[in-house]
Symmetry: C2
């Protein structure tokens, strides 16, 4: 293996050799800011995933380090994120009860499976698979997940028990337990939520008015959760609110991330394999979108297949150090970027910061109320909720709208796994339906040019014995028979027809079914005394056709351009063989 091969799989060899003091300072500043922001976020997402709070810290340490070694993005911050944490809770909650040792072990297994899948996809260079999640489906899924997450956290604000993985289950469960609302928790929770909303909507403009640089405004806003945590923790400690039924985080071990081994029970693996695949794909798509957005700003390139390897390593790392499934998060990466992180070393410094927190700060969060963590989650995810995609899709195309609407509805009503699967399936089915009845246009020559356009949309010249038909789709099995039907119709409509030219500019593929249909069309047209010509056949399609008998049997010719075809046929009333 040459050094280039090494750098392909280990991007660290690339940037590591050029590391200097300037980059170190940038990275260090970014790391401090991100660490402060990550502590509450990690604790909160562990809560969302149904895990003890320290799991959130652990899930941020090894993954960040491993991504720094294998990932291609300079600024992506890997760790627990909202949607993946929700999917983790949905996947494991169906199998094991939250709060048990089995639940924690299942989370490790889920992270491990997801890591292995991501690594495998990366090594096999199958990153393109993520493209089957269309933009509108992702937007719909994120919006619906945000609503589900917010709904699932309401119980912490109300101080009651409630569970469920769909909006109806959650709402029913909340309603059923509403009698037990804890008033002190409710006051704490709503105050924290209100404060955090104010930080986003009120404090930000205020800070901006003071003329602070955008970076500091952002830092001010991002410290909101830390302030809320400090204030409510002090309140619970000072007024002994835990005795009044306020749920608190409680004892958190003071320790570096432990070495853990996921369970390899075949039973557990078979139950988690599909959720792990969905989590891998969703996580990858979320992460790569963030990475590409930030990379584009600095004209850096992201290699999707290498990203799979980086995320795979991060998840395997999470599974071996007491974590749970992780991916590149939007808000933390943006902060990292804005704070001036220059290289993945910023991530390594953040990991060190979080290790120190796990070692020394955990006693301080003993009295932290869960309601505060729930408030930070709710405020964070509601910013993800954006129904404008429905409007956008509706005005652009009904097909896209159908896919988004199906994704949102099914995610809310049937849960995250059904929702995202339905979104992908709907997108694919709609595509197949559309290509199965392709648009065809009779074309004529735009006067004075060699250019041909639809007779219905442009003023063009045609000849009565020649029909020029542009086929606006690749020809393959779903539309092969449709083509036969359409050509039979055109041939039957015009008595004087002697030549049909199929304009193949938009035919990007001809498969065996379509080839057989073309042969059948050629034979039938010959029997009707009509010659079949092709024009503007593309290279790859022509190569394919040359491997068949069609070209020998074709009654007409193959023309390089439609103009040549029409010129050649202009004056020769055909004498059909």
């Amino acid at each position: 293996m040459t050094l280039t091969t090494f750098t392909r799989f280990l991007p660290i060899l690339d940037w590591g050799r050029r590391y200097d003091r300037d980059r170190f300072i940038g990275d260090m500043i970014a790391a401090v800011i991100v660490t402060v922001m990550l502590i509450p976020q990690s604790l909160a997402y562990a809560l969302l995933a149904g895990l003890p709070p320290e799991a959130g810290l652990y899930a941020s340490i090894a993954p960040i380090l491993l991504y720094a070694v294998f990932g291609t993005s300079r600024v992506l911050a890997v760790g627990p994120v909202a949607v993946v944490s929700l999917m983790t809770a949905a996947a494991i909650g169906n199998i094991v009860d939250s709060g048990t040792a089995g639940y924690i072990a299942a989370a490790l297994t889920l992270a491990f499976l997801s890591g292995v899948m991501l690594l495998t996809l990366g090594v096999l260079r199958l990153g393109f698979l993520a493209n089957f999640l269309s933009h509108p489906v992702i937007a719909g899924f994120i919006t619906a997940s945000g609503i589900l997450i917010a709904a699932s956290q309401l119980r912490h604000i109300l101080g009651i028990e409630a569970k469920g993985h769909t909006l109806i289950e959650i709402a029913t469960s909340l309603w059923y337990h509403l009698y037990a609302v804890n008033p002190v928790t409710l006051v704490l929770g709503t105050s924290a939520t209100a404060f955090l909303f104010w930080v986003r909507s009120g404090l930000k403009p205020l800070l901006e008015k003071t003329g602070l640089s955008p970076l500091f405004v952002d830092i001010g806003v991002k410290t909101g959760p830390v302030l809320a945590i400090i204030a409510t923790t002090l309140a619970v400690w000072g007024f002994e609110l835990a005795d009044q039924g306020v749920a608190i985080v409680g004892a958190v071990p003071q320790s570096l991330p432990p070495l853990t081994l996921p369970s390899f029970s075949p039973d557990l693996i078979s139950q988690l394999i599909v959720p792990a695949l969905l989590i891998s794909i969703i996580g990858f798509v979320e992460s790569i979108s963030v990475a590409q957005t930030l990379a584009a700003k600095k004209r850096q390139r992201i290699d999707p297949d290498q990203e799979l390897i980086g995320l795979g390593a991060a998840n395997i790392g999470a599974s071996l150090t007491g974590g749970f499934p992780v991916t590149g998060g939007f808000s933390r990466s943006v902060v990292n970027y804005d704070a001036g992180a220059k290289t993945p070393a910023a991530g390594a410094f953040t990991a060190i910061g979080l290790m120190l927190a796990a070692l020394f700060l955990t006693p301080l969060i003993h009295y932290l109320p869960k309601a505060t963590l729930a408030a930070t989650i709710i405020v964070a995810v509601l910013s993800l909720v954006d129904f404008s995609i429905l409007k956008r899709a509706w005005s652009f195309s009904r097909a896209d709208f159908a896919a988004v609407a199906a994704t949102i509805l099914l995610t809310l009503l049937m849960g995250v796994e059904v929702g995202v699967t339905a979104g992908v399936a709907t997108s694919i089915l709609i595509h197949l339906y559309k290509t199965s009845r392709p648009h065809m246009a009779v074309v004529g020559r735009v006067p004075g040019t060699e250019h041909f356009r639809n007779v219905k949309r442009h003023t063009v010249e045609t000849q009565s014995h020649v029909l020029s038909l542009r086929v606006d789709e690749s020809l393959y099995f779903p539309n092969a028979r449709f083509l036969e039907d359409q050509l039979a119709r055109y041939a039957a409509e015009k008595e004087e027809l002697t030549d049909i030219i199929l304009l193949f500019t938009a035919v990007n593929e001809v498969d065996l079914s379509a080839l057989e249909s073309l042969e059948a069309i050629n034979t039938r047209l010959r029997e009707s005394g009509i010659r079949l010509h092709l024009s503007e056949v593309k290279g790859p399609v022509m190569d394919r056709l040359k491997r068949s008998h069609l070209l020998q049997e074709l009654t007409g010719e193959i023309f390089l351009s439609q103009y040549e075809a029409v010129e050649a046929l202009a004056n020769t009333k055909a004498s059909v063989p």
Copy 2:
């Protein structure tokens, strides 16, 4: 409703009004020939489906009549066919034991469900769904089914018990029972098989040499099974072979088709719903292929949606008169056509012939050995086995080959239902994979024309500051990100680039994901000082783009033709906004 509306749903009103003596004679002759051929075939396919022999006759009577009323093909003969009978046996055999009353009831339910599905698809005009079974997949499926059918009939030739729905199951079961081979049955069975093979391969050329017309040659060949039946029945009766363990058809009721009611047990229906759907689609595809082939010879048109209604009515008829799932059969329809059938009335006369057979001929087949019926099935289906599709697909495209190979292998190893589903799934996945990495070609002008082709395949003219890129695929979610990647690559490669023209001749669709990618590309190119132009955008795509912001934000222009685009940009080194 006008008469036209009626004739749409009742084609009989069209040909019925023009019926005359010539047509009557043609129809009558065809009916006699087809009846003689159908009697052994119907009995045999009932055996294949695991049903009593009379069910085969019943399944040929009402369906033929109902198809004559509702169908559009003049010559299609509807009744039990090999592949559908095999699928029936596979579907019911998993649920009920053959030979029980429950088995017969389940066959009625299967026919009823299939009939309702076909009718529904027809009324909703969803006939195009059948197109998702590609030609190669069908060819592979028919070949594999032929092998499975022949294997499943070997037990009757050997005179042993054996069952199974996959090649391995059947082979294992045969091997396990091989000790019990009945020698007399074996002699009868192999003689009948050998005779029937000789009729096809030896007698046919012999008759052709005598100078008989092709029709009579064909009739001679088709009476082969009748001769085999008469000879072996007489042998069993004369030498009392039934006492020596030769399995015979036994007592068959002398009766017109009985009125029957399928079972509507929700449990049974839920178990049969998927098999019924697969049988409906396979049956429809087989039938429509036959109908279209024969109609093309006489320039008649087949309406796929009306065919669904005809076949739906036929199957519901079968379910109410003691039958089982039916469809249009190839061999019987060809005989019908060759024998000169003019209108669907030929089918009605055939039905009358079969009724007479059911009333009066059934005592004569008491001693008919099952081995003879098995021999007729084996000889018939082995003519369906044709591995040349593998070779054809291989030489044309690896993708088609993969779909055929998957269909054949999985049908043989996992059974008909898995096989056909896998074939469709493979075809779709391969298509999605191919469109997800579209071909793109840098194009230049063919000197002296307004025509543009791939720079790698043709000698063309280009300009160093303008890149003309033809995108050879519709732009939609699976390839949206690929387009971004490719354009980033092209933009990075050429320093002097000021203008990129995307040639949209082959872009038949732009969905919301692709629109967002185009917007992102436009923004990124602007930041690199490169203008983005589009040319030859089709009407439907342009309509779609007009509903977005892309056209306002586009840094370049939209040109009607690529020639105009290049002319306009030839002398103006761009001054990017």
